[in-house]
């Protein structure tokens, strides 16, 4: 994608609801539609070393949105941070829009992977973390998955291997809105800890907790942040 775009001044967190309304037409948004919103905001606001003016910088941090569905929060954050023009938002889902219901890295500046089908982001991130390490590139890789997405077996190939390969520049955020049909007895963190990851289980709406969890040191192991939010079905 192009690396230079017309820069609008970044917008604050309070602007996100309005940006989402540009896409949904609704004034308010249910928690189930915004389960990823706060983690995405904290990542782009204070964790990721990314710059909308230099989206191809080889040393930029990588963020892979693996849970590609429900991208309204993602597009809102990308617009707030100046990666995409706000004018694109009302076009979401149209035939000629760059913004689909699942994002495409070849269409949207700042989007690092094309996602939608579940269980692809974390395995891709393992490869990117390996590739950056082989080049002595200090960039970090962050992946966002959902708790139900962990049902896909491909994730478990990646979880096991990432720890054995000591991918300490890899961080996974699991948005846990208790939507997995068969659940994770003993907790999601345990799946990662057994394989040798460090973990933090936090309130996925608390910005200070989210930032602190991402900043926890994890030497020689990958890191998993389990961000708990409102159960998906509680608003039914």
């Amino acid at each position: 994608m192009t690396t230079t775009m017309t820069q609008a001044p970044p917008l604050p967190y309070a602007a996100l609801n309005g940006l989402m309304s540009d896409m949904t037409g609704d004034e308010k948004h249910q928690p189930s539609a915004t389960s990823t919103l706060d983690v995405l905001w904290v990542l782009y606001d204070s964790i990721l070393r990314v710059d909308p003016a230099h989206t191809a910088d080889p040393t930029r941090d990588r963020f892979f949105l693996s849970k590609g569905h429900g991208p309204v929060s993602y597009y809102a954050v990308l617009a707030a941070k100046g990666f995409i023009p706000r004018e694109w938002l009302p076009t979401v889902g149209r035939f000629d829009s760059r913004l689909g219901y699942h994002p495409d890295r070849n269409l949207v500046p700042g989007v690092e992977i094309s996602s939608g089908s579940l269980g692809h982001g974390l395995p891709l991130a393992v490869g990117t973390a390996l590739g950056l390490r082989a080049q002595r590139n200090p960039a970090r890789v962050f992946v966002l998955v959902g708790d139900a997405e962990l049902d896909e077996g491909s994730n478990h190939e990646a979880i096991a291997y990432a720890a054995r390969a000591r991918l300490d520049r890899l961080t996974v955020a699991v948005i846990d809105n208790t939507s997995s049909s068969h659940g994770w007895p003993g907790g999601i963190a345990r799946r990662f800890e057994t394989e040798g990851w460090t973990t933090a289980t936090i309130d996925g709406r608390d910005h200070a907790q989210i930032a602190a969890a991402f900043e926890e040191p994890h030497d020689r192991t990958p890191h998993a942040v389990i961000a708990r939010v409102e159960p998906k079905w509680s608003t039914r």
Partner: protein, 308 residues
């Protein structure tokens, strides 16, 4: 180093030797494995621990990690038995390489039924048909060991998406005699060239050997058809599912009234073991089987020439 080693005698040995040289020459080259051929890469894994990557028995991860490596600017080479690298990880080939629009070279062994005693789980007669559903992949089917090195080097240098289908049953190079008045073109893909050349002896058919089958060599086929002594009879011999390239022949000859006979591995699960040669015979793609089918197609009711 490699110069001190014995000259590779199999396609797999040549693949490993060339890959190790590429790892040495270009720090962007990486190899991703899933417990297959790890012994052959053991020395390389010590020399290049960050670029010879064994995922364990995790083929989905092998292909996805290749996509991630390519996103980070590396040039991944993925390697396993064909059923594990292609059909098992098809969704990863589709989404994590094609849809991301990043490059990789997939090098398989085992072909359609090299591991005949292992049974259907280790056969991959469907691999090229699966790649046919993924636009833009280059598909190479070498016949001879000495084709592997240049094919692999060009595929890695190209940067796109390439599939190289190796076989344990490489065939020796042999000159093919051109009939004076050819009446049919026999397109022989990869190692079928040996049986096809033997099969058409005395049949007035010209053999067109094909190594790179995607993109399909449409212009070469048209030239060969236009040189025929009347008619446009085409025989397609493929070492994977019969008819995999039939639509490519049709697309190459939209303006030519032609007949097509598609030969290759049959769709039915034979539930047999034995040897690859026995499977070739069962599918009618050994020299005798090809000769029967091709002569019936080309000569119609005419008597077969002496010799078979």
């Amino acid at each position: 180093m490699t110069a001190l080693l014995a000259r590779p005698t199999t396609m797999r040995e040549q693949f490993v030797a060339t890959t190790v040289e590429l790892l040495d020459d270009d720090p962007r080259t990486a190899v991703v494995l899933a417990d297959i051929s790890t012994d052959a890469f053991a020395d390389a894994a010590v020399r290049f621990p960050e670029r010879v990557l064994n995922m364990g028995i995790r083929e989905q991860l092998m292909v996805s990690a290749a996509g991630g490596l390519a996103l980070a600017g590396l040039r991944p080479i993925v390697h396993s038995y064909a059923p594990f690298a292609v059909s098992r990880a098809y969704e990863q080939l589709k989404l994590d390489l094609s849809h991301q629009d990043v490059g990789a070279v997939v090098v398989s062994i085992g072909a359609s039924h090299d591991s005949a005693t292992s049974g259907r789980t280790h056969y991959a007669p469907e691999d090229v048909a699966l790649f046919d559903t993924l636009p833009g992949w280059h598909v190479h089917v070498p016949a001879h060991v000495d084709e592997v090195d240049p094919l692999l080097r060009e595929a890695v240098a190209d940067g796109g998406r390439h599939y190289i289908r190796l076989t344990e049953h490489a065939v020796p190079r042999a000159p093919s005699a051109l009939p004076a008045r050819p009446r049919a073109v026999v397109v022989a893909v990869g190692p079928t060239i040996a049986a096809a050349s033997q099969a058409v002896r005395g049949l007035d058919a010209t053999v067109l050997p094909v190594t790179t089958v995607r993109p399909f060599p449409a212009q070469a086929l048209r030239r060969a058809v236009f040189e025929l002594d009347g008619g446009a009879d085409v025989v397609l011999v493929e070492p994977y599912y019969a008819g995999t390239s039939a639509h490519e022949v049709a697309a190459a000859l939209p303006d030519v009234r032609h007949r097509l006979l598609s030969l290759g591995v049959g769709r039915r699960d034979l539930r047999r073991y034995g040897t690859a040669a026995e499977h070739d015979a069962a599918h009618g793609i050994d020299a005798q089987g090809l000769r029967r089918s091709i002569s019936a197609f080309v000569l119609g009711g005419q008597r077969m020439p002496d010799g078979e």
